[in-house]
Symmetry: C2
Subunit: 564 residues, 2 copies
């Protein structure tokens, strides 16, 4: 009997059983495979230009030299209908003095009122996508929950509007000011408070960088139950405030299940001390849940308590081609059935997205033939042999039943990254020809891909899609987190064009609404989606949300002009 040690052997045995399977040297199609830095969420934004006001010249990602901040258009100009609410006080020297007395006059206060703090203050005024830019004259960086409390109470009393800010890696403009809101930046609150190795419960300040938390946990053989591309910059408080989804949701579930406790400060300075380290606690309304995905509009999260799973020592990645979306669904069902507890990702890429990835990057694709759909499967578990055997059995089944047309299994870490790159590289490569109209949608799985086809047909009928320069649209593609029914509908363009926009909207939102989908699966509302909430939520729900906002923030000082 052949010993089974690694996924490699799984692949070999699969080959014997399934002669149609292409086994290729993945190294042919991968050059300079570094650690996959730019994961979905970040890359998406890098090339992002939805129907919201866009910065086409800033579409070339974070890796190139940053344009001077001053070149970013003010949000107040991009959204001319937005007016500064006159109920808010204007910042004065007296206000600044209060904050300096409280926090010291060092780096904890960036004062753009008294001094020319231009270059220092700009990174806090604009988002890293370079799409949104505010006019803040003051940034404060509290070092403790008590300081956050004093700051908010003061602002509330003085009617000074504020913007809570974590790593400022959001995608909907939620973490930067629109006008002169004071930025409350959490980066100085960056301590891990405790970790219990038996229960796996981590308690940490909101300003801890996600990657720092995850590295800390790695040493303890645990993982943070959230992973996303911005992990090197984003802060866990911001992750919770935006209910970040990311790559581990299929396996570990959402923040609403994993967050056990939250410490937050309400606008009036009240410290909500709900930092429970208990997995079970049925003593009253679970108010902390409102802060998960509350986008800093009812308070500022200062610390979290979160249940962290064990780290899985065994990992496998497979990539395959399929002939129809029906077969993709079948494969997903089979993966859930057979890989069950070890399935950690099931990602979808349509053939067009893979073709554009190949055209834009010049990188060869893992499979030689062409297929209308591709999927990437990742397993993670506690036993390499078992996982490989399960994956192999699954692959034999889906090949034998002709659910999957062709496939490869990564043989080592480098190949795993190479396969992941075919999925993760898509958002970035789509910006190659100009800009991208992007939608982050939740839809019923069965109908998910219909929207991509219908959108493409609509734009084609309008004569907007084609190979020549005269066509604004290069192609319409779909990819995303199949396991979470989260579709990224992307329209790769040569230029932004109102003719395209007219075809897309309100068509896409109406289509999503008619299927009871979500117009923002994981990115949140911020300023970008505020106007469109009606497509995903009823009037009743919006009213109930406004009631919550009014309850906690009657003066409306928290992150104004955004959310609902």
């Amino acid at each position: 009997m052949v010993p089974r040690h690694r996924a490699l052997l799984g692949l070999r045995r699969w080959q014997l059983a399934s002669p149609s399977l292409q086994i290729r040297s993945l190294s042919q199609c991968t050059t300079r495979l570094q650690q996959a830095q730019a994961r979905e969420q970040v890359q998406e934004a890098t090339t992002s230009a939805s129907s919201e006001p866009s910065q086409p010249h800033d579409q070339h990602g974070t890796k190139g030299p940053a344009a001077p901040a001053k070149a970013i258009k003010y949000t107040s100009e991009s959204y001319p209908s937005l007016k500064r609410d006159p109920k808010f006080a204007e910042l004065t020297q007296d206000h600044v003095k209060y904050f300096k007395d409280l926090l010291g006059s060092g780096s904890a206060v960036i004062d753009g009122l008294s001094e020319e703090a231009g270059e220092d203050i700009e990174p806090f005024n604009s988002d890293w996508m370079r799409k949104y830019r505010g006019h803040a004259k003051l940034v404060v960086k509290p070092g403790s929950t008590e300081e956050v409390s004093k700051i908010l109470k003061y602002c509330n009393d003085k009617m000074l509007a504020v913007v809570p800010q974590g790593g400022n890696t959001g995608l909907v403009g939620g973490s930067v000011p629109v006008f002169d809101e004071i930025v409350i930046n959490l980066s100085r609150m960056n301590k891990i408070r405790s970790f219990d190795e038996v229960s796996g419960i981590l308690v940490a300040d909101a300003g801890v960088i996600l990657e720092t938390a995850d590295s800390f946990l790695a040493e303890k053989k645990h993982i943070f139950p959230l992973d996303l591309g911005a992990k090197g910059s984003c802060q866990i408080g911001g992750n919770v405030a935006t209910n970040a989804g990311g790559l581990r949701l299929l396996r570990y579930g959402s923040m609403h299940g994993n967050i056990l406790g939250i410490e937050a400060v309400l606008p009036d300075g009240t410290i909500m001390d709900d930092l429970s380290k208990l997995r079970k606690n049925n003593t009253g309304y679970d108010i902390k849940q409102l802060f998960i995905g509350g986008e800093g509009t009812i308070g500022i999260i200062t610390a979290i308590s979160i249940l962290c799973p064990q780290r899985s020592p065994a990992m496998n990645v497979a990539y395959f081609g399929l002939d129809s979306f029906e077969k993709v669904q079948q494969a997903f069902r089979e993966a859930k059935n057979q890989l069950s507890e070890i399935l950690s990702a099931f990602e979808l890429m349509d053939g067009r997205s893979q073709k554009l990835y190949n055209r834009a990057t010049g990188k060869k694709l893992p499979l030689e033939g062409e297929h209308p759909f591709y999927c990437l499967i990742e397993t993670s578990g506690s036993n390499t042999d078992h996982d490989s055997e399960k994956l192999e059995a699954f692959l034999e089944h889906v090949m034998g039943e002709e659910i999957v047309a062709d496939g490869v299994v990564a043989q080592d870490q480098t190949q795993m990254q190479s396969l992941w790159k075919c999925r993760e590289g898509v958002p970035e490569c789509l910006g190659h020809w100009g800009g991208v109209y992007k939608y982050d949608l939740s839809l019923p799985i069965a109908e998910m891909y219909d929207l991509v086809n219908e959108t493409r047909d609509k734009l084609t009928r309008a004569g907007l899609v084609g190979d020549g320069e005269e066509h604004a649209v290069v192609d319409v593609v779909g990819y995303g987190h199949m396991g979470d029914a989260n579709l990224h509908l992307n329209i790769a363009t040569r230029r932004f064009d109102t003719a395209v926009e007219k075809e897309l909207e309100p068509f896409v939102y109406e289509w999503v609404a008619s299927r009871n989908g979500s117009i923002s699966a994981e990115h949140g509302l911020g300023i970008a989606k505020k106007a469109f909430i009606g497509y995903s939520r009823s009037e009743t729900m919006v009213k109930l949300m406004q009631q919550i906002k009014g309850l906690y923030d009657p003066n409306g000082i928290m992150n104004p002009y955004k959310y609902i």
Copy 2:
């Protein structure tokens, strides 16, 4: 090489590697092993008598003939300090007419005002533990969300207090009236609305019985991500309203993560249409979370949408003895490490609880020697061979390292049930000598068992524990869901005795509070724990909760006299 097919073989190999291991014929110690019907939550209540007013003569379980309902003491008598709130209207013939016109005069309205509905109305007035009993004169059973809406709006307008009622299997008196509140029983809303086999998302009326939902899902190879003893009677709406924990929480997480949508009716008749079938939806505050564990105090859940996992075909159960609580913790850490994704239960029973189980039932225990602690481990996964191999490796390790002193692995379904019985039979058997003082607590795992020792020491010092009839207390035992850090502290008594109560309270609550534990891990507050919330929640949190209550239910008609 020995083929590995079943847990049995795992056990045999374990024996070879670990000569100290006792292998016993489980059939010796199991007679008439029926389907383990009375699971933790139900059994706990069966024998329950906490410090709340108790019914010692009703302590002999649900299996015996039920005492006539009239014999149950009214809650208003057990809690003499509770007074009917005069702001609520008294039920009149006009009110009854409204409901009959709305629902028809058939079984949807049980009218105790016009007729002598005594026997018909009593099951809705008293709980199945026979601890709580109200004076309701009217039960209404709406058949649709619209009817619920009309009922609540009418009651709110007329200031008629109501009690939402599901299967009425709760443990804290939350689902029966205290005075003359109208019972709104959801049992007629019992349709499964939809199930998506690809995503595993079930949408169903609140009144669907948990077991019905789970059986429906079993046919689709899925499970309801909650399991508890009352499954044959409890309703899924009630499960959500009480944030039920149960047996699958370790593996599948809490309702807060699994519930994707809720349809609920607010006191003013507003239908909160948040029945999303989406795994991801970041469009505004997650208000539905307030209804999870809200215990019917801000609205009535009429339907839920829930993510259901795949059903695991492979199951294993092991039972072992350990020499200290430190070793129990080590074993738990190792189980998390090595069994990882297949671990589905890790239950704790102290040696005293097992001894009492043996004394009360006459059933032999699975292991021959005596140990201060015992654990039950369950695995569930997709591949029997893999799971057995993992379990075997784990057992070899914990035996080799002398973490575990002795153990057995079930060889078939009957033995699995027999082992489970040693855990599940504990709550019931503790009532054998008279009554039981019971506490359902969440505590930091490391300190969890200290409370049991300290409580026992305290009662012993007071001369209350002993073998003779003159001692009120038989023994003090601890058991529970180790995996969830959920301890059941139980004091088995020959009789209820104020001397015992004085030793226990506020000692237990203060002890829990000083460790930031929870005085109600999974049972909720209801009327039983309302007074004690201050031990688990700060004044600030209680005020914030009262604010929520006031926001949704300004007239206070929803489930009054309870919760916060």
